[in-house]
Every structure is written in structure tokens, then in C-alpha cells.
């Protein structure tokens, strides 16, 4: 039996949540330190897994597989490969940074940190579990803390946003559950009996056995939930609402990792189990992706609320992920995963940045600001760096990911037009980022912010950590791509095997 790193990473936050919840509620410092400590240990463990992960060996590593409900073929099955390992590290990292960014939370602090840790458990669980039912369980578990975090610590319209988020996601999950059950009941059960094991299910060729209609229906049952999570146009409208209302740290996690669950699940489940259907419907996905890219960028352009702008930019950037998946070439798929990772760091950083300014000024409206660079040079520098990373400047991770997606997608002759249109998104992205920077930081200083303080101390730490990661990956992408490659290869092998 292996050390069980994944179980530890997954359930350590749960332990942390329980410990935090049991602490005396007035000792804020102890609560924060405890939560940060647990998150940090989880981060360290995931980094250990990252370091120990053998990039040369194909397939899953750190596998833990124990029968759970044998009569139904449900197993406790966890493992990492190139697809989910970056996501796990991203989750633990961003949760830790989010906890740091929540240092000033004083409203029901104990509950807040416990929920953050609970959220981490749910998300890590989604990424590590390879049994569909376990996956589904974690998928649902993550909702509850998220809902509470928005509805308790959120902005003025938090109830609307939280309920919208939950209902939207649950609508997707309901369909997903139907899809999972369809996979379960129609799998080739001759060999191993009924199972929710993803790898076993992938051995059934549903399209061949039950025809394209069946596999397409199951495909859409599954993918709708993921597209909502991603989110792709036209299922994205929960995102801006949730982001605007959520507290900073929650936005960071929401945009940084929660969205990645959608992209990850499409690759892990749809691409692995129903390659034929994905191939058949790639056009539809690509069109949605391209619309997301352009449309998200355009709507970002005219936002006056910084957070909404970043939220819509997430729609735009996640469009690249979908495009990469839909293009179905090895490079594009790699690019999609890479884009998920980099977008996690970049958007996480942008939300943190918005949070810092919001804490200082209690406004997020671009029109309220102006010339802030004069008073906050460090903050402005960090924001410019974040913005540049977001618009895909070379030397930063965003460029590597987007370029890989473009090259990979363009290699599929059917996707060339979509790729070019999506590439136009980088101009619009540059447009709204630059325009925003100009209006917020440059020009004459607006009088009312004359005494605003520059960012410092604990506000800066998470930002610097993310900048370092963004630049490191941008300069030496092999750090991440080596890991990702091993996870994408088997998925793509599925397609070649199916003759697609």
C-alpha cells in the first residue's frame, strides 16, 4: 500500500475544517493560523506528489483503490496523472493563498475558514477520484461550502447569486448523474461486473455498441454539467453574478479551480469514455468555444466593475480551453490543460488584486479610479504584470498556453477558421486590459484617493507567489508541460485507437 498521499491531500482539509470548527471562536489568530497550517500541509503534500511524479512513466500514479460498495461496483479509487496533478497542485496552492488573502475576515471567522477547507476537500476530491460515483459525490460536496461562502460573506446581491450558482450547477449535475448511470448500466459488464471505475468504463465502446444516438445523448447529459461549470457560452451567466458577490478569496477559488473542474471533467470523462461522440460534436463545442472567447472578451470590455471584467474575461479564457479540447489534436489538448493551469494562476492573481483595491477603497468601479500608479507603485506594477499575463504576453504562462492551443487547434484542418477567430480574441483581450489599466492606474491621480496606501505585507505575498509561478512557467513551460503530456497521451491514444 502506497503512503496514500492523495487521501491525505483530500481529507487533511476536512480534518482541518473540523479542528477549526472546534476551536474557540474568539481566538481569530489561532483560527487563521490553524486553517493556513492545514492548507499549507496539503500544499506541501501535493508538491511532494508533483516532485515524485514520474513524468516518464505513463498512466496513473499514486493509485489508491479499495472496494467501497462492492455490490454496486463502487470503489474508492484515486490516482493522479498529467491531467489532474496540475489541478490538484493548483487547488492546494490557491486555497492556501486564498486563506492568506482572507486574513482580515472577521465575520464568523471560524465558520469561514472551516468552509474554505471543506471546499478544498471537495475540489481536490473531484480531481483525484477516478470512480465516477466518488467523483459525483465530491462534485456535489463542493457546492455546499461554496453556497454558504457566497451567501454569508457575499455582497449585496449574494442570495440571488448563490442560489443561481447552486441551481445552475445542480441542474447540470442532475443530467450528469443520469449520464453516469447510463454509462454504468450500459457498460460491458461481462468481464468485471458492474463498475463505476472510469478506466473500466472507458473500455466499452458505447458508440459502436449502442449507436451514435445513444452515445450522443449520454455525451450531452454528461457534458452539459461540465459546460455550465466551465462555463461556456451560453451557460455562463451564473459566473459574473457569483463572482461579483463572492468575497475575494472565494472568487479566487471559484475562478481559479472550480471552473477547471468543468474542463478537466470533459477531458477525463467525455474524451476518455465517449471519444466518438466528442469527435462528432467537436464542431458544436468549437463554435461555443469561439463565441465564448470573443463574446466574453467583448463583454469584458464594457464592464465598469473590475471584478465583473475579470469574471467575463474568465469566460473568454476558458473558451480557449474548450477550443483546445474540441480541436482534438495532442497539442491542443495539452494546450487546454496548460491553459487551465495558467488561467488558474492568472485569474487567481487578478481576483486577489481586485480584492486588495476593494478592501482599500470599498469600490470596484473603474470609473471611480484614476492615476493610482502614483500612490501605489508596487500594486500597479503587480496589476500590470497580472494584466499582461492575462493578455498572453510572452514570458508569462498565458502566452505559452494560448500559443499551444492555437498551434494545436490549427493543426486540425477543420478547426482553422475557429482558431483564427479565437486568436482575434487576444487583440480584444489586450484592448480591455490596457483600457482598464489606463483608466485605473494612469493619468492624473483622482483627488479622493490621495491618501491611499500601497499594497504591502500579507496582501503582497500571494501576489508575488503567483507572479513567480506565472513567469517561471512562462519562461520554462516544461515545468508543467512534462507532467501534462503524460496525462494527455492516453486520452489521445483512445482517439487513435477508435480511428478518429
Amino acid at each position: 500500500m502506497s503512503p496514500g498521499y492523495l487521501t491525505l491531500i483530500t481529507f487533511l482539509p476536512l480534518l482541518g475544517a473540523i479542528v477549526t470548527a472546534l476551536m474557540p471562536k474568539d481566538n481569530l489568530r489561532a483560527i487563521r493560523l490553524t486553517a493556513a497550517g492545514f492548507a499549507f500541509v496539503a500544499l506541501v503534500l501535493s508538491v511532494i506528489v508533483w516532485v515524485q511524479y514520474d513524468t516518464n512513466a505513463a498512466g496513473l500514479q499514486f493509485v489508491e483503490k479499495v472496494p467501497w460498495i462492492p455490490s454496486l461496483g463502487i470503489t474508492y479509487f484515486m490516482g493522479v496523472d498529467g491531467l489532474n496533478l496540475p489541478m490538484v497542485v493548483l487547488t492546494t496552492l490557491l486555497t492556501f493563498l486564498a486563506i492568506l488573502a482572507s486574513w482580515h475576515i472577521t465575520l464568523r471567522t471560524k465558520f469561514y475558514f472551516a468552509l474554505l477547507l471543506l471546499l478544498e476537500m471537495g475540489i481536490v476530491g473531484v480531481f483525484t477520484s477516478l470512480d465516477l460515483l466518488l467523483f459525483f459525490l465530491f462534485w456535489e460536496v463542493e457546492l455546499i461550502p461554496m453556497y454558504l461562502l457566497i451567501i454569508i460573506w457575499g455582497g449585496p446581491r449574494r442570495e440571488y447569486a448563490a442560489i443561481k450558482f447552486v441551481l445552475y450547477t445542480i441542474a447540470g449535475s442532475a443530467l450528469m448523474l443520469a449520464g453516469i448511470l447510463a454509462l454504468y448500466f450500459f457498460a460491458d459488464a461481462n468481464v468485471s461486473g458492474r463498475t463505476f471505475d472510469l478506466l473500466e468504463l472507458a473500455k466499452t465502446n458505447y458508440a459502436l455498441k449502442y449507436g451514435p444516438v445513444f452515445s450522443s445523448v449520454v455525451f450531452f447529459l454528461l457534458i452539459l454539467g461540465f459546460l455550465i461549470k466551465l462555463p461556456s457560452f451560453p451557460f455562463h451567466t451564473w459566473l459574473p453574478d457569483a463572482h461579483v458577490e463572492a468575497p475575494t478569496a472565494v472568487s479566487v477559488i471559484l475562478a481559479g479551480v472550480l471552473l477547471k473542474m468543468g474542463g478537466y471533467a470533459i477531458i477525463r470523462i467525455n474524451a476518455s469514455i465517449l471519444p466518438q461522440a466528442l469527435h462528432d460534436w467537436a464542431y458544436v463545442l468549437a463554435i461555443m468555444a469561439v463565441i465564448s472567447v470573443i463574446y466574453g472578451a467583448c463583454t469584458s470590455m464594457v464592464q465598469n466593475d473590475l471584478k465583473k471584467m475579470v469574471a467575463y474575461s474568465s469566460v473568454s479564457h476558458m473558451g480557449y480551453v474548450l477550443l483546445g479540447i474540441a480541436a482534438l489534436t495532442p497539442a491542443s489538448m495539452n494546450g487546454a490543460v496548460l491553459q487551465m493551469f495558467t488561467h488558474g494562476t492568472i485569474t487567481g492573481m487578478l481576483f486577489l488584486l481586485v480584492g486588495v483595491i476593494y478592501d482599500k477603497t470599498h469600490t470596484r468601479l473603474i470609473s471611480e479610479f484614476g492615476g493610482l500608479a502614483a500612490r501605489m507603485p508596487l500594486y500597479a506594477t503587480l496589476f500590470v504584470m497580472g494584466g499582461l499575463a492575462s493578455l498572453g504576453l510572452p514570458g508569462m504562462s498565458g502566452f505559452v498556453a494560448e500559443f499551444t492551443v492555437f498551434v494545436g487547434s490549427y493543426l486540425n484542418p477543420n478547426m482553422q477558421l475557429f482558431t483564427i477567430i479565437a486568436a482575434a480574441g487576444i487583440v480584444i483581450t489586450a484592448g480591455y486590459i490596457m483600457w482598464m489599466l489606463q483608466r485605473v492606474f494612469f493619468g492624473p491621480l483622482v483627488q479622493k484617493w490621495q491618501h491611499i496606501e500601497d499594497a504591502r505585507g500579507i496582501e503582497v505575498v500571494p501576489l508575488v507567489v503567483l507572479v513567480v509561478i506565472i513567469i517561471a512557467v512562462g519562461v520554462y513551460p516544461a515545468l508543467v508541460t512534462n507532467v501534462i503530456g503524460g496525462g494527455v497521451a492516453p486520452v489521445m491514444a483512445n482517439f487513435t485507437k477508435a480511428g478518429l
Binding site: 443561481k164 441551481l167 445552475y168 457560452f233 451560453p234 455562463h236 451567466t237 451564473w238 463574446y295 467583448c298 463583454t299 470590455m301 464594457v302 464592464q303 495532442p330 497539442a331 491542443s332 489538448m333 495539452n334 494546450g335 496548460l338 492615476g371 500608479a373 502614483a374 504576453l393 510572452p394 514570458g395 502566452f399 499551444t404 492555437f406 498551434v407 494545436g408 490549427y410 493543426l411 484542418p413 482553422q416 482558431t419 483564427i420 486568436a423 482575434a424 487576444i426 487583440v427 489586450a430 484592448g431 490596457m434 483600457w435 489599466l437 489606463q438 492606474f441 494612469f442 493619468g443 492624473p444 491621480l445 513551460p477 516544461a478 508541460t481 512534462n482 501534462i484 503530456g485 494527455v488
Partner: protein
Amino acid sequence: MESFSIEYLGLIPLFPLLAFVIIALVTRPLKRLSAYLSILAVFASLLVSAWALYSLVIAFLSHASGEALVKELTVTWFSVGGVALPAGLILDPLTAMMLIVVTIVSFLVQVYSQGYMHDDPGYSKYFAFISLFTTSMLILVMANNFLQLYIGWELVGLCSYLLIGFWYHKPEAAAAAKKAFLTTRLGDLGLLVGILIIYFTTHSFGFAEIEHEIKVGALSGGLLTVAMVCVFLGAVGKSAQFPLHVWLPDAMEGPTPVSALIHAATMVAAGVYLVARTFEMFAASPDQQALLVVAYVGGFTAIFAASMGLVMNDIKKVMAYSTISQLGYMMMGLGVGAYAAGVFHLFNHAFFKALLFLGSGSVIHAVHDQDMRNMGGLGGKLKITFVTMLFASLALAGIPPFSGFWSKDEILAGAFEKDTLLYIIGAVAAFFTAFYIFRAMFMTFTGKYRGAPAHDSHGSAGGHGHDSVHASASPEDELRAKVKEHASGHGEHGIHESPWVMTVPLILLAIPSLLSGLLGSPFMGMAFQSFIEKGAEVHEELNYTVMMSSIAIAVAGILLSSLVYYFKIIPANLISRPLPWLHAFVLNKYAMDDLYGWIVNSVVLGASRAALWFDQYVVDGIVNGVANLVGAAGGALRKVETGQIPNYGLAIFAGAVVISAVLIISGSTL
């Protein structure tokens, strides 16, 4: 050549990069140290570049040619899903020449900046940015593949953005920086698409491999033309060619040395460099269509920008349009197939245009004004500036033996052979060029000082401390100074020549303005061209007709200019008086800014607003609509719950009867 290993090339951008990192992280508070560090770094790069060039020149002089003059090194940067993304270095005559140009100009500009940027609060930051720019530009010119070139390409764009917006508190500067970045990025999109097309067909990013693949026909026909036009689009953006030229005049909001370095000598020439670097690919397109596009865009830009140069009153704007025009010239040269001539012009232009900008900077530094109508008679005060700028102007106008003449003439000769229309365009543009640059010279340096009347100058009050003068009106305060100027006046007495750190670079740049052309002159056997073409024999029949006519055109331009602005025989408003709308139209930059402003504000933002409306009311409307529908259905159904117990009882028994009836009729024995 043996002495210089290709790996050493990697050192060249490393020095400024280190300087950037150290300044940014460590020495930021120590202004002087930062500047010295930066200058030292670029000087080190200059030395290594010179060494690289020297090794090539030695090889060239020993009659090596072709591939013997090319060294390449390629490693895999990272590889993903079967696509290997390369990083590589190339050392060939073109790169060596660019390296020298970049490092020399960067070095001189940095030396000059010590004086110009003196006392600017962002002094360290300025040098950090310049170092970063130098790094990026060097990465760009030594790339042996499209990917790395694209990276350098974007990074120089970033540095340009940062430096244009260096005085970010000026709204104009911030707007200009954004405009520059976005306009060039539009072109970059073309470059990106071009790269994608090329990679799709040739499965390579490397220039050499792609050329090989094109030779064997992997990419040919219309697609090749499309790909190269896309690549050219990148060059159009970066080199400010029509129709993406609008950013460059605005970019003059940046500090003047930055304009000299980035927006005259190096970055804007990157577009020309790109076309030169991929010249073989352009030439391979069917009927050289791609080259034809380059030629016509370049030619049109040359005359189009020159015409605007004629009417501008801001000295830097004149220079800016001049740059656009000259870049158009280079493009035209490349387009008509005069590859070496185009590159040669790039080489010469880098020096004399940098000189012109630095000279303008010196003038602005002295009078704290950019409007030539408020200058005049400065030749006596700013002797060094005047003389060096005169050299550069003669070079620009194309008077032999100054450098510009040789390359410009060769471009015209190339155009003459290729396409008469282009030749005429070029000749007219040359006339305009000669006219507007001497208009600028006359307006600035001759006649009487037209600034506000002499006053008890605040400048001289501070004694001879140039520094203190500059301190109070360092370019950082240009705007404020300008306002003050009109209020209190500055006076002729306060005008002094710039300090030596500024004049020495002027003098150093005046030398190549005079002499660099000779390298490619028939007197030296067209050595430059032969070198750039990797040792190929260049036997150009001297076209005396073209040569004589171009001299005549230049002289005519200068003469006319002198008649109008020196001797004042011809009134300056000879044309503008009867045709005021034309003058206004040209002065308004052919309303291109208005057009683009309209496109951005109305079309792009309008569409975005429409998208947002659509998002809020249609997409989200549907979402909320579904929710409301469910709610409404519930609302309607709950009316069934009347609260009347008899109703419920009735329903219960009616239901029981119905169920019983069904069971009975269906014959169930339940």
C-alpha cells in the same frame, strides 16, 4: 569566424537582462548606479556584438559566402503533444548588422538619457525599461525561428508600451501607450496567423527549415501568399505602415530618447527586419505577389506619411512622420526586390534618425517647447545640435555623400527598374522628405527666435547650473512647462546647449550619418550589400539617370524649402490659403485617427455594449426566465390548495373512486 562561437551570442541579451533584473530588484533606489549598470550592460553587449560582427566580416573578407556566413543553434524550448517549440540563435550578416545597430543606438541613447532624464523621479525605472527593451530587441533579431521572433516581437511591444507611457500621469501618454500596444497587437494577430499557417504546412518554426520546405513545395501558391501577407501584417503594425501607422505619431508622448531608440532606430525597424529575414519566403510567393503587397504598402506609406510631415508644427511629429515615411521606403525597397538596399537603408536610417530625434530632444530640452513656430534662430545657441542635425538632415534628404543618399538612391533605382509608378511615388516622397526636413531645420535654427519675449529668465536666475534649469523643466514637466512658458515666457537668454552627455552621442551619431553610406557606395564596391547578401557578388549597374534625378529632387526640395522658410520669398501659405480644407485635412492626419476613433468607439464598443445587453437581457434573461417560469407554474398550482377541507375531502374520494374504477375496469385483482 572560428574565434566566435554561436553560444556567445546568447550573452548579448543576457547582459541587459541582468541589468534589468538587478535594477528592478536591487538598485532601484540608487539612480546613478542603475544608470551605470544599464549602460555598462549594453556596452558589454556592444562589445560582444562587435566581436560577432568582426568574426563575420573577417570571414567575408576572406571570401566566405553563403552558408559559411551563417551559424545557427537550435534547442527545444519545450515540446508539447508532438509539437516542439524551439529556441534558437542565428548569426548571419543581417543579424550581426542588426545587433550592432541595436547595441550602438541603445548605448548612445542611454548615455544621452543620463542628461535628458536627469532628475526624473523614475530615473531607475527608465533605465530598467530600456534594458528590458534592449534585451527583447536583441532576442528578436537573433531568433532563428518564428516563435522566438514573435516572443521578442511582443516583448518589444511591451517595452514600447511601458516607455511611451513612462509619464503615466499624463493622460495623453497613457492613451498613446495603449494605442501603440493595441495597434501593433492588431498587426501581431496577423503575424500569429501567418505563423500558424506556416507551421500547419511546414511543421516548422525555424526560418531555414521553412525556406527549405517552401522550396520543396510544402507551402506554395495562394496559401503562401496569404501566409506571407499575414506575416507582413505584423510588420505593418510594428513598422507603423499604412493603415496601422497611427500609433507612431502619438508615441511621441514618450521621452525623446525613447523615441530615438524605439520609435526611430530599432523597434519600428523590426518590421523591416522581419520582411528582410523572411525575404526568401516572400519572394517565393507566386508572381511575387506578397512582395508586391509589401512594395505598394511601403510606397504608399512613404508618400502618405511624408505629406503629413510637410504640415506638422511639432518637431517630434515631423520626425515621427518622417520615420513612418522612411520605413515605407525600406518596405518599398524590399518589395521591389532591392533586398540589400532596403536593409542598407534601415542601417543608415537607424543612425541619422536616432540623431535627428536626439537632436530634437536637445532642442526641446533647451527651449522646453516642441512647437517649431515658437522656435527659430537657435542655430547660434545650439551649435553642436545644429551641426549634427544638419548632417542628419542632409542624410535624410539624400544629398551625397551623406549616408541616406546611397541607400535611398538604390531603392529608387530598384523601383525604377521594377515599377514606374513606385518610382514616381518614391521620387515625390523624396522631394517631400527634403522639403519637410529642411522646413524643420529652417524653422528651428534660422531666423529669429519666435518664443515668448525675453524675460528675466528663471533659467539664468539659477546661474549656470544646467542641471537646475533642467531640473525645473525636465521633460517630465514638459506639459506644465509649456503652460508656464506661455504665461511667463522663457526668453532667448535661458537657452543653452545641452550638457556633454547629450552632445557627445549626437557627435558620435553624426559620424555614421556622414559615413555609413559609403560602406555601400560604389566606391567601396557595394561592400555592405554584398555582405548582407551573404557574400554574393553585387554588380549593380549604376543608374546615373536615377542618381542624378534623385540628387536633383533632393536639392529641389531643399531649395524650395529655403525659399519658403529661409529667404521667405514664397509665402508659406501659398497652398494652404486657397485650399484651407486640404491643409486642415492633412494636418488632421487625413482624419485617420477620427476614423479609427469612430471604429473603436462606435463599432467595437458598440458591439461590446450590444453583447453585454444581449448577455444581460437575452442569455441571462432566458436563465432567469426559466427560473421565473418554474416559479410561475408553482404559483399557479398552489392555488389548488384552497385550504377548504371539504375540497380536499372531495378530491380524496374522487381520486379513490377513479383509482377503484381503473382497477375494476382493468380487471386487476390487486
